[in-house]
Amino acid sequence: MVNPVLLIAVPLGLAFMVPLIDSASRKLTRFVPVAALLFNLILCIRLIPAVLENPIVINLGGFTPPFGINLFVGPLGLLFAGLISLAGLVVSIYSLSYIKNGPVVKYHMLYMLLLTGATGVVLTGDLFNLFVFFEILCISSYALVAYHGDRAGIESSIKYLIQGTVGSGLLLIGIGFIYGIFGTLNMADIAMKIATVEQSTLFVPMILMVAGLGVESAIFPLNAWLPDAHSSAPSSISAILSGIAIEVGLYAVARIVFTVFGISDIYLFFAFLGILTLLIGEMCAFAQSNIKRMLAYSSIGQIGLILFALALATNNTVTGGLFQLVNHTFSKGLLFLSAGYMIYRSGSMEISSLNGMGKRMPLTSLAFTVGAFSLVGLPPFAGFPGKFLIVSGALLKGEMVINILVGLVLLSTVIEGTYFFRVIQALYFKDGNGEQRKQAPATAVTAMIALMILIVALGVYPKFLADFLSSASSDLLDKMSYVGSVLK
């Protein structure tokens, strides 16, 4: 059996090695992230059969939990790790040609460390360790948002940094409270001891921790930084921030709420919060004329939808929510990547400047269209089974409040469809200035085609993924088996 700790250790080691590689050969540096993420992807695929049988628990340093730190590689963690390495691999291929200016070596190092931090967050079984990896994720994204060093990038990076730092401060206070109450930091150990104290004592630590993680996962009302940061970052980074970073934040929120605390009284509150985030995100996206801001607001909306699906806490809705999450990673990644080259070509982020792009960059425009259709939830793309599972699962609950919320979900889908079709109309049915047809570079095209194939494949054979997601959702909901497998 391969050891899952390599998923973190190998990219970290390679990132430390980059300066040495750089002094040996400058050209080789660009391929280090590709190699590291390819390695991670292969490792994840090799781990699937073992993990489906039994979650793998790795005790680091040989100390048994709760005394040492442990990694918990269940289906959910592996799903996220695989998603991070797959999306990361595709985007790193895209950045080979997209990132040409500036401190390129540092870009590749930061990019690799960002993904390592994300992998650490989803695999760890220790609360403070989660905080540490979360900080790696956050700090590298602050730096990458400001990568171009232009006015908008610096300004949004500052906003992001201030809000993110206050958020992680709150998270740390919450962790301090938890340690004071339970005297342990191991998530399984806390989950086991949670019933021994009064629920009212846990309220403040939970609010602090959820608020702290909520900043990174862009839950309303903590998402003021997101539209700025995601729209001013380089497009490859926007794709990763939208596709990976906020999802990882959402994973941490779900892990803490479901597994560590497991207080089911507040799930409905999160469902409301999700719907509110969804509606506000979609309405703001509708009002945008800047394409990257529109995509950023649409990410807020999608996060709200996924939060709503997870908060309903039935096997069907969580499976649907995770399906939507996978779909969001691929399609929002595809949208940002294709928008990146269209912006590069037209020189402006305004939607009106994309008129007639369908003739000038046919493949890139096709990629954008596929991403948009999938995000709205049209068959045969990956968005359809996700939304279908969420809606049908929610209606199965048969509660009046939830039925109303489902109505709002459908309404928001209509809004989403409207603004995406507006862009597609501009791409294909409006005349632009008659420029020459010229495609994006080969590496970028490869990345976009790979994502398109993934989206269509998941849309046509949803069962392939849904089975795995179903065991991932029981991993998230079944608190007792989590505790049992860590503290055996």
Binding site: N3, V5, A9, L12, G13, A15, F16, M17, V18, P19, L20, S23, I58, N59, L60, G61, G62, F63, P66, F67, G68, N101, G102, P103, K106, Y107, L110, L113, D126, F128, N129, V132, F133, E135, I136, I139, S140, Y142, A143, A146, Y147, H148, G149, I154, S157, F177, G180, I181, F182, G183, T184, L185, V197, E198, S200, T201, F203, V204, P205, I207
Partner: protein, 231 residues
């Protein structure tokens, strides 16, 4: 309206904090995990400083993450400062040279501070101190030379390579533990030796020396970047 709302929020949060703190009385709590570390920390890791045995033994993975955070910040700082510098023309500021007393004093103190920093991180498993503290002391020596001797600079390639190699040493030590020492990442595969001697505690001194060098060269790099920016 806004201030009333935030005041209410603050009062509610404050009441909640007080309520939660009442279940954590000050000065008497002692956690199971903490007691276990104090009782068996010496036997498990061979370090007499229990904080060290927690930082580099039980929770060594945290420390790997922590080193990475500092690494990320140093690269990020370099990237942000370099990104804007490209399209600016260099203008060299004329710095007044330091006085003879300052110059000589800095040069005299520099090796002593370096020695003290090295002492702090080499003895991390025996005395209060460790890699981060020692690294910070070493970086302060370089800062003093930068401020006192003005024109002296370290070689960036040298600093970058030290940083890189010491980071690699940490990861490779962990991987060696995975390969030979009972199949756990970062497990102790070296003999623990006798307590309270310099050559004890297995991999802890190796990791702390790597951390000390890494933190020292990283913080020196940060100082160098910032000083270059101010010129």
């Amino acid at each position: 309206m806004k201030s009333v709302f935030s005041l209410i929020l603050l009062v509610v949060l404050g009441a909640g904090v007080v309520f939660t703190l009442s279940s954590i009385p000050f000065g008497s709590t002692s956690s199971d995990v903490g007691e276990y570390y104090i009782d068996s920390g010496r036997a498990d890791t061979g370090a007499t400083n229990i904080v060290t045995s927690v930082v580099v033994g039980y929770r060594a993975f945290d420390t790997l993450g922590e080193v990475t955070v500092l690494f990320v910040a140093a690269i990020g700082l370099g990237a942000i400062l370099a990104a804007g510098r490209e399209n600016e023309e260099k203008k060299k500021a004329e710095w007044e040279p330091a006085s003879l007393v300052l110059y000589t004093g800095c040069r005299f103190l520099f090796p002593l501070i370096l020695l003290f920093g090295a002492y702090v991180f080499i003895h991390g498993h025996l005395t209060p101190g460790g890699g981060f503290q020692g690294g910070a002391v070493i970086a302060s020596a370089f800062l003093m030379v930068y401020l006192g001797c003005r024109k002296k600079r370290i070689s960036r390639t040298w600093a970058r390579n030290t940083e890189s190699i010491s980071g690699l040493v940490f990861v490779v030590t962990g991987l060696t533990g995975l390969a030979v020492g009972g199949h756990y990442f970062l497990s102790n595969f070296l003999p623990e030796g006798t307590l309270n001697t310099l050559f004890s505690a297995g991999i802890i001194p190796i990791i702390y020396i790597a951390i000390g060098l890494k933190v020292g060269s990283e913080l020196t790099g940060v100082i160098d970047d910032l000083i270059e920016e101010s010129e």
